[in-house]
């Protein structure tokens, strides 16, 4: 059991438990839609055209941006559209997507580019991981190669085997079914980061997964550790606090403190990429909720629609509300046509319920007790509601991890976290705008200075020229005088000579 702990957090029972966790392979989808925008960085640019035939695993879009990974076709077939579509994002804005229609053959590009990691340099491996399109599969989607590149004096590697939220079981299923691959993946990561210790963190309710991994544990550097099944203990910084008692400040990353944290699914994806040469084209997704008959985990190609796997779980015919990700931090989506992307770890399909009416804050202080990062949501709510950014920042708004523990316990059903997300976005926009304004002011002032300088330089140049001319004229004059004097002298001399000759 973990020695240290963090304050707050909540215990939530899995509302839809499964007796025996298994992975069901979903059939090949007839069509996939692959978004070009990743979590951070710029939108990838397509490098295929409509009508072009693509193979599974072929790169179809990429960017120069160092944060981003290329996008791979997840099935073989024909590109039928490159256009803007709705993606699972809480903005409801459309973004660029590539649509591929399957030819049903699933023909791969040549995947014989697996490499022997023990004989490869750190740089080659990281580049290979980037080329294989691997991002954090835990739900945040942070690019793995960026983490690896920013690593400083890594001492500990943490493999996060905790489900980030109650109700999700895809990582559990992965550990039970692919323990050997996960362990190989860990060896690869260890080779890259050179850490002294590895801790695999597993929640204490995942006994089967624990034993499965234990069977393949042959390295004394690696330690399996159970942690309490408490919500938000899977969050990177809190996990680090619980395991190592190291606090990562809000403006810094774990990798800067020598701790590398990787999710188990990402670790397996790294194994697939390095040993098998397969880019990331599929993932395991949990389908759960009150409106489906069987709760299960499916391996599915990226870009397939939610409906593709939800139908395998036999949903009822009621009106549904669909949510991607966990019940706490997920994103509501409009319908089941939404595509599965790299960060889709879970799909909740619930019977639609009337929204609960919110009431005013009664200052009960419940929210203050559960906040895992020790904020005061009650105070913060007050300022966020009035869009008071400065005061919110004073109350450490930027530390909020948007876990919604505060919402969960609030007797007035206030969506506290939504206010904090909004205020954070306001702050980010303000900072961006302020930067732009400052640049404009500076450039305007510089232009004024430049024009004045040009004018002055021009005037100085003219003055100098004038002076030069004058000097020259003056010089000319002395020259002329000299010549005149000489002539005079000569004349005089000749005259004298004449005088003497006579």
């Amino acid at each position: 059991m973990a020695r240290h702990k963090f304050n707050g957090g909540i215990f939530i029972k899995n509302p839809y438990p499964i007796d025996k966790i298994k992975i069901v392979p979903a059939p090949l989808p007839s069509k996939v839609v692959l978004p070009l925008q990743q979590r951070i960085g710029e939108e990838a640019k397509p490098c295929v055209r409509v009508g072009e035939r693509v193979f599974t695993g072929q790169i179809i879009a990429k960017t120069e941006d160092d944060f981003c990974v290329p996008i791979h076709a997840s099935i073989s077939g024909t590109v039928v559209a490159i256009d803007k579509q709705l993606t699972p994002h809480h903005s409801g804005l459309k973004s660029g997507c590539i649509t591929i229609e399957s030819d049903g053959k699933d023909e791969w590009i040549d995947t014989n580019f697996g490499i022997n990691f023990l004989r490869s340099s750190k740089k080659t491996l990281i580049e290979h991981i980037q080329k294989s399109g691997i991002v954090g599969l835990g739900g945040a989607g942070f690019p793995t190669h960026t983490k690896l590149n920013n690593l400083k004096n890594c001492h500990t590697l943490i493999i996060n085997g905790t489900e980030c939220e109650p109700g999700i079981s895809c990582d559990d299923a992965l550990m039970q079914n692919y323990p050997q691959e996960v362990m190989r993946g860990i060896e690869i990561l260890l080779h890259i980061c050179g850490a002294k210790h590895v801790i695999i963190a597993i929640e204490d309710d995942k006994q089967v997964a624990f034993e499965a991994l234990l069977k393949y544990l042959h390295n004394d550097k690696i330690k399996l550790q159970k942690i309490p099944t408490k919500y938000t203990s899977g969050a990177e910084k809190l996990l680090i606090k619980a395991l190592l008692n190291i606090e990562i400040p809000s403006n810094s990353f774990a990798v800067e403190q020598g701790v590398l944290c990787q999710n188990v699914a990402t670790t397996k994806a790294i194994f697939d990429a390095v040993e098998l040469g397969r880019p990331l084209v599929s993932r395991i997704v949990t389908v759960t909720g009150s409106a489906v008959e069987t709760v299960d985990n499916y391996t599915v190609r990226l870009g397939a629609s939610f409906a593709h796997i939800v139908n395998l779980s036999k949903p009822n015919t009621n009106l549904h509300s669909v949510r991607m990700g966990g019940m706490m931090m997920g994103v509501d989506v409009d319908n089941l046509e939404t595509m599965i992307c790299k960060i889709t770890n879970c799909i909740f399909v619930n019977n639609r319920q009337k929204p609960i009416k919110t009431q005013g804050c009664i200052r009960c202080g419940q929210c203050n007790l559960v906040c895992p990062v020790n904020l005061l949501p009650q105070q913060l709510y007050w300022y966020a509601k009035n869009e008071n950014i400065d005061k919110s920042l004073d109350y450490n708004l930027l530390d909020c991890i948007e876990c919604r523990c505060c919402d969960y316990v609030c007797p007035s059903h206030i969506s506290l976290a939504a206010y904090f997300v909004f205020t954070k976005a306001l702050h980010a926009n303000k900072v961006k705008e302020q930067n732009k304004v400052n640049i404009a002011r500076e450039r305007f002032e510089y232009r004024k200075y430049r024009l004045a300088r040009n004018k002055k330089e021009h005037a100085e140049m003219m003055a100098a020229k004038k002076a030069q001319l004058k000097q020259k004229m003056a010089d000319d004059k002395t020259q002329k005088d000299k010549i005149a004097a000489a002539i005079e002298r000569v004349k005089k001399n000749t005259k004298n000579n004449d005088d003497t000759s006579i």
């Binding site: 997300v421 909004f422 926009n429 640049i439 404009a440």
Partner: protein, 180 residues
């Protein structure tokens, strides 16, 4: 008696000297009110306020020469912020100076551009890059969207481009949150 008078007069003298020195040494440079007003103005530098840029307008407001509601890019929000700073009643934006347009930048249709460089001279923030008789282009990140370059182009090849909201720069709707 005499020595205490002496001590106190020396003390007064030295303190006076220190204060006098500090007043000269740490004098606030420039006009702080103008700086504060200038900080609120949007720095589009478009001249719609009838002054040749935001700072000149800030100076005019500070001296009481101009009203606070003449800056269309700043919008009503800007007027309100100025009113708050100056502690006066806010005014509605005066639309004779123009209307607030959506956030945009200028771009040059490079196939038409003849490289006359008139736009380079018109731009208040040096956002143009180009060479005579070749072509010019706008550095998008530096453009403030003041539109001053559009009328000077002899072949009308400068157009405006509205900046669409993207997934990475997005603020949710607070009203939805409040009513949800």
């Amino acid at each position: 008696m005499l020595d205490s008078v002496l001590i106190f007069s020396l003390l007064a003298l030295s303190l006076g000297l220190i204060l006098g020195y500090a007043a000269v040494k740490f004098k606030v440079k420039g006009n702080p009110l103008v700086d504060q007003i200038d900080a609120i103005l949007p720095q589009t530098q478009c001249g719609q306020c009838d002054y040749p840029g935001c700072r000149p307008y800030a100076i005019a407001i500070a001296s009481g020469e101009a009203a606070i509601n003449q800056c269309p890019p700043g919008g009503q929000e800007g007027v309100d912020a100025l009113a708050k700073l100056l502690n006066v009643e806010t005014l509605p934006l005066n639309d004779t100076y123009g209307e607030t347009k959506p956030e945009h930048v200028a771009f040059v249709d490079e196939t038409l551009c003849i490289g006359c460089t008139l736009c380079i001279q018109a731009c208040p923030v040096d956002a143009f890059l180009g060479a005579p008789k070749m072509m010019t282009t706008v550095i998008e990140d530096e453009c403030t969207g003041c539109d001053l370059c559009i009328p000077v182009c002899p072949v009308d090849c400068i157009h405006i481009k509205i900046i669409p909201s993207t997934l990475t720069a997005f603020a949710s709707n607070i009203d939805e949150v409040k009513n949800g």
